[in-house]
Amino acid sequence: MSHAEEGKSAPSHSSHSETSAGHSGRKIRVRVKRQDNPNALPYWQEFEVPYQPGHNVLSLLMELRKNPVDISGKRACPIVYDSGCLESVCGACSMVVNGKARQGCTALVDQLEQPITLEPMNKFPVVRDLAVDRSRMFENLKRVKAWVEIDGSHDLGPGPRQNPAEVRERYVMSTCMTCGVCLQVCPQFAIDNNFVGAQTINQVRLFNSHPTGEYQSDERLDAVMGNGGVEDCGNAQNCVKACPKSIPLHESIASVGRQATVRAFKKFVGL
């Protein structure tokens, strides 16, 4: 019955004695680029969190909001950030940690240089603190019909047989969690242009390669053969290096490039 009081100052995941031993006094320093609302100017604020092994950036933020006081002792607002799964499958906690765009939940403090700097992904409109507006990605998914189109919820019978090797390839592409990191690191993607980026192009390849999805492949290709489409890619391949799901985005981009070539030729000769 007294567990609750004992564990009051420790994070709920570390109720073993190992966490409090041997780390007396050590602090983790965090600098956060904050912004109070979409139209406000950003400002930096610095914090300190008592060291515990196993912390990731999000658990640091959770600690901070239990006692939101900055390094000078001034009362602060808890830092606003998006998160979901805490295991790098939802894509919500994308942020720039020590200059690198990544998921916050996998950014282990023991592997980061201090002070740890946290910034929002500035190629998306900042809403508040580390939370940004990524609706542009979802609008692009709609634009390319990133789904398998079926004409109703009536019984369509069993689906077509699928080659297991192709299914394995598609599975990798399908792990995209729309986190936006590939767009943040892309030299061709900017807040004020309309490049769709690796995220969207990968979805075009995914659904074009699905036996039922491919019925809409022409529409998908047309959507990325215009302004801001696949042609804007400069092949820097930062997206591949940054993708937290290790999706071979450069292969998707080349594949869609090929599909676009064929489609353009067919349209030109009237096929």
Binding site: H3, P11, S12, S15, R65, K66, N67, R75, A76, P78
Partner: protein, 241 residues
């Protein structure tokens, strides 16, 4: 790779009838948030089942219900909606202006630790009673929470406090229901009552909100088509109980 048990699904939920309508006419609940399918324990992949089947079954029912209505919401007097909007806005404003000394995230952590320590699979009545006392303490403390800022833009603290107050009610219902159930069944194991007691407890606990705490009542389980038997994993499936 280190592993540890964690909360990942809720077996109980909102009460709904067979058409997925709650006890509020016109309010439907589908998916994980309702109490269907799981009983005392939850089979693997039942989450997928409940999400897909609820949509498949509930969707047409909602359409049917709407078509049977004599009056549509847009024909209703707007004062109904204005009053509710005012009530909700007042509640949110009330939270936004809280300047107490308690921290909502600390209260949330204490609640979570109490529930994890006392209300997972193994439950003891003295610990459950202590849990209810803790909930009373937290309910009182949550009224003295301080919000960092009342700004309207993406105020996560505001939403968190709103949900925390509701979460405390839910926790209270869970602990109270567990305390009353003196038997073991599925994921509810009481060492003091290690056996199933079908005679007294083959029924679903229902909890209704009241300011004084959850008001419990019970609903019989429909066993017309499948007679209950002891659920063990170390015997041949075809063997009788």
């Amino acid at each position: 790779m280190k592993i540890f048990p964690g909360m990942h699904y809720t077996m109980g939920g909102l009460w709904v009838d067979y058409n997925l309508m709650t006890n509020i006419p016109g309010l439907f609940a589908g998916g994980e948030c309702n109490f269907e399918y799981h009983g005392a324990n939850r089979l693997g992949a039942n989450a997928l089942l409940s999400c897909t089947f609820d949509g498949l079954k509930g969707g047409p029912k909602i359409v049917q219900y709407c078509k049977g209505l004599k009056q549509r919401s847009c024909d209703s007097d707007s004062s109904l909606f204005d009053a509710e909007e005012r009530r909700m806005t007042a509640r949110l404003d009330e939270i936004a202006n809280m300047r107490g000394s308690e921290n909502a995230y600390v209260i949330h952590q204490e609640l979570g630790q109490m529930m994890t320590n006392n209300v997972t699979v193994v439950r003891r009545n003295d610990e459950l009673k202590g849990g209810i006392e803790k909930i009373h303490e937290l309910k009182e403390r949550v009224g003295r929470v301080g919000i960092g800022s009342s700004t309207a833009v993406y105020n996560q603290e505001l939403l968190f406090v709103n949900q925390l107050t509701n979460g405390l009610e839910l926790a209270h219902a869970i602990v109270e229901g567990a305390l009353q159930r003196d038997e073991s069944r599925g994921a509810h194991y009481k060492p003091e009552f290690p056996e199933r007691d079908d005679e007294n407890w083959l029924k679903t606990t229902k909890a209704a909100y009241s300011p004084a705490g959850p008001q419990l009542s019970y609903e019989e389980v429909d066993i017309r088509f499948i007679p209950p038997r002891k659920r063990v994993y170390n015997v041949d499936k075809t063997a009788s109980a």
